[in-house]
């Protein structure tokens, strides 16, 4: 025995003999070959056996071919023939049953299946370990279990197999994209419903075109003279796919336009923002979301130009410092009509708000969202902006109700929009102030108040001189007590009577109502409000959110659909008493607590969810 290999040594230490393994493998291989030879009905002559491949003669064969007398030999020959024929028949039957045979058969006239079976048998692939010529390139290679067969049934060498695998992979990928599968389709459908982009029937041609365009945006050099509304749609689509970068931004910068909307500026640098001001000299309205690189230097550039922005929407630009903001307001504030600032944690503070009244004589819309710095003093300063029509605050600091009461007494009279998001501590005095001062409100949002009571809401809506509201969002104005969640002795939050009063006040005009999580509105109140009665029709109602209102039942949902003829979407997440409702055609009910989660119904629903 020569020197042992490391592997053999290692195996030996684990009581495994490499030699034994080799012998076993050889024996197996030989046995397999013999079987194959038999099946192939090769003559049992030793000579012919020896001529096949490299197989050694087996004991069984050599025994058979031992010299005998002529008669015995003849008898043995017929017996052998018989046996061989039987064996062949068996093998043919076996092959006929195999998948490969069935596949081949499909293309061929089934006239002589036996011939085909024989043909297949004759080409039985060599076993792993043997040498074979590659069908494709002709090189000699060792057959392994991973060798693939080529188009004509022969085996392929390693490199050729790899090529084939690559081709297959691309083919598979392509076909996958086309179908998406039943699950993928359904998932997409549900996702569309939740996005509110669902509609029955085909997509509009515009949508189809815009989708195609956004997929191939790298081919576009210029959007030509498309109308601004379409350009905006393309911008939205691109941002959705996060495709807006320095290059694609140029498509939207037309020197003649006065409006630029960057829905996703995450990939844009400061220079790109500066480029906006360079190429669009007549810019009036600018919207930037995720504008992280909208920094001081961009502000500096903006101030150095003759651009008078009327509308600025900045989202996530928290690198603009407080000093720059002030400077901006002092230089450019006079033209500003609308300013919306989101996620600018540090630098938009009380001091800045105090500057507005003096610097922005025509500001009508102010929105400050996700802000950690502004406190009561800042909000009080907003009261000095007499031109304000739309006010929206989403502050992290919890302010006392008096701040809001004071604010409303100053500017409440002309306010059209009042949006107070997450005002934990705001109480009934705020509602009373709204009742007393507001006369032009169209949109009202007060969310997550723990203090306001049902009686307060009743006082607000009953006999209110304000015309009907169009948009109301009172979500999560409810009592929260983890110890006794069901009881609400003080009537905290929007409850039955407040809800009744609201619906009475704005019955004709209300288009969008959100009472998400107002848990103490009773079933009786819902039934009252959505009674089957000609006086209780809410013609304008298009979207209604009543999720987590525990008392909502199938009956209530049915009544809602009856009394809101124009309702498109109804949300009922967490309404556990909604079980099985018939949804009218074209309406959407979202969030039914069952496995399907949402129901859409068409009357002739023959290609609904149930096929596939």
């Amino acid at each position: 025995m020569g020197p042992q290999s490391a592997l053999t040594d290692f195996l030996a230490s684990h009581n495994i003999s490499a030699n034994q393994i080799r012998l076993d493998a050889d024996a197996r291989r030989r046995a397999a070959e013999n079987e194959q030879d038999d099946a192939n009905n090769q003559s049992n002559d030793q000579a012919s056996v020896a001529s096949i491949a490299s197989a050694a003669p087996t004991p069984a064969v050599s025994a058979d071919s031992a010299p005998t007398t002529r008669g015995r030999r003849a008898a043995a020959a017929t017996l052998r023939d018989e046996e061989a024929r039987k064996k062949e028949q068996k093998a043919i039957d076996k092959i006929k049953a195999s998948k490969k045979f069935q596949k081949r058969k499909r293309g061929i006239d089934s006239e002589d299946e036996d011939d085909l079976a024989r043909a297949l048998m004759g080409r039985a692939a060599p076993l792993p370990g043997q040498q074979e010529n590659c069908e494709n390139c002709g090189t000699r290679f060792t057959v392994t279990a991973y060798s693939r067969s080529g188009p004509d049934g022969g085996l392929l060498c390693g490199p050729c197999s790899k090529e084939l695998a690559k081709e297959d992979a691309t083919k598979k990928k392509k076909s996958k994209k086309v179908t998406g599968g039943a699950v993928g389709k359904r998932r997409q459908l549900q996702s569309n419903i939740l996005d509110g982009t669902y509609s029955l029937g085909a997509k509009s041609l515009m949508t189809l075109c815009i989708e195609t365009l956004s997929k191939n945006i790298d081919l576009a050099e210029d959007l030509g003279d498309l109308p601004p509304s379409i350009v905006d749609k393309i911008a939205r689509k691109l941002s959705k796919h996060r495709l807006l970068d320095s290059r694609t931004l140029s498509l939207f910068l037309q020197p003649t336009t006065d409006e630029v909307r960057v829905y996703d500026g995450a990939k844009l640098g400061s220079d790109d923002f500066i480029r906006i001001f360079q190429t669009v000299p007549g810019l009036k309205k600018l919207k930037v979301r995720n504008g992280i690189h909208f920094k001081d230097q961009v502000m500096d550039y903006l101030m150095s130009r003759h651009i008078e922005l009327e509308d600025l929407y900045l989202h996530g630009a928290n690198l603009v410092s407080e000093a720059k903001w002030k400077e901006f307001l002092q230089h450019k504030g006079h033209a500003l009509r609308s300013l919306r600032i989101y996620f600018t944690d540090r630098h938009v503070n009380d001091e800045l708000l105090s500057v507005f009244a003096a610097t922005c004589p025509s500001l009508t819309r102010l929105k400050i969202s996700h802000n950690q710095e502004v406190t009561g003093a800042g909000v009080a300063a907003i009261g000095d902006i007499k031109t304000l029509r739309h006010l929206s605050l989403d502050l992290r600091n919890e302010l006392h109700s008096d701040v809001y009461v004071d604010l409303l007494s100053k500017i409440g009279a002309q306010l059209e929009t009042l949006s107070l998001t997450r005002v934990r501590k705001a109480n009934n005095t705020v509602l009373d102030a709204i009742h007393k001062h507001c006369r032009a409100l169209v949109k009202l949002r007060i969310t997550e108040s723990d203090e306001m009571t049902d009686a307060g809401f009743v006082r607000l809506f009953r006999g209110w001189a304000n015309p009907g509201l169009v948009f109301v969002d009172l979500q999560k104005c409810r009592q929260l007590d983890s110890a006794r969640p069901r009881e609400n002795p003080d009537g905290i939050g929007l409850c039955s009577n407040g809800f009744r009063a609201l619906m009475e006040h704005s019955a004709k005009t209300l288009r969008d109502l959100n009472v998400h999580g107002c848990r103490h509105i009773e079933a009786a109140a819902f039934e009252d409000v959505f009674r089957a009665d000609s006086s209780k029709v809410y013609e304008a109602m298009a979207k209604l959110e009543i999720s987590f209102c525990e008392e909502v039942t199938d009956f209530v949902v049915g009544s809602v659909f009856r009394s809101c003829p124009d309702l498109r979407e109804l949300n009922v997440f967490g309404c556990m008493k909604v079980r099985d409702v018939r949804v009218p055609r074209g309406r959407i009910l979202v969030g039914v607590p069952n496995a399907r989660g949402m129901v859409i119904e068409g009357d002739d629903d023959d290609d609904g969810d149930d096929d596939e």
Partner: protein, 107 residues
């Protein structure tokens, strides 16, 4: 002339497309043209000299695609050739084939 089931759309260069009226009505523009007081309503023939034939053909294809799928959920997207995407977009704007081919128009 009583309303025929079909109308004729004529593109730049005089190519004519005979289209099922109901399918073509997805476009508010065509719907407007076919209102009674216009000559198009009498002849059932709408001329679009500023739209080229290949684009109009694709638009007509869309009319039928929409018509076939108008009641279906989960409709496979129609294939839009990339090279005519922008032109088609202009045409879509012209024909007012904007978002949501209104449900209520069908009813």
């Amino acid at each position: 002339m009583a309303d025929s089931k079909y109308i004729t759309l004529v593109s730049d260069g005089g190519f004519e497309f005979v289209v099922l009226r109901e399918a073509a009505l997805v476009s508010p523009t065509i719907k407007g043209m076919l209102r009674s007081q216009f000559s198009e309503a009498q002849t059932g023939r709408c001329e679009f000299p500023e739209i080229n034939a290949t684009v109009l053909e694709k638009v007509v294809e869309y009319f039928y695609y929409w018509y076939r799928n108008r009641d279906k959920e989960d409709v496979p997207d129609m294939d839009i050739p990339v090279e005519m995407c922008l032109e088609l977009l202009m045409a879509a704007d012209y024909f007012n084939l904007d978002a949501k081919p209104a449900l209520r128009n069908m009813a």
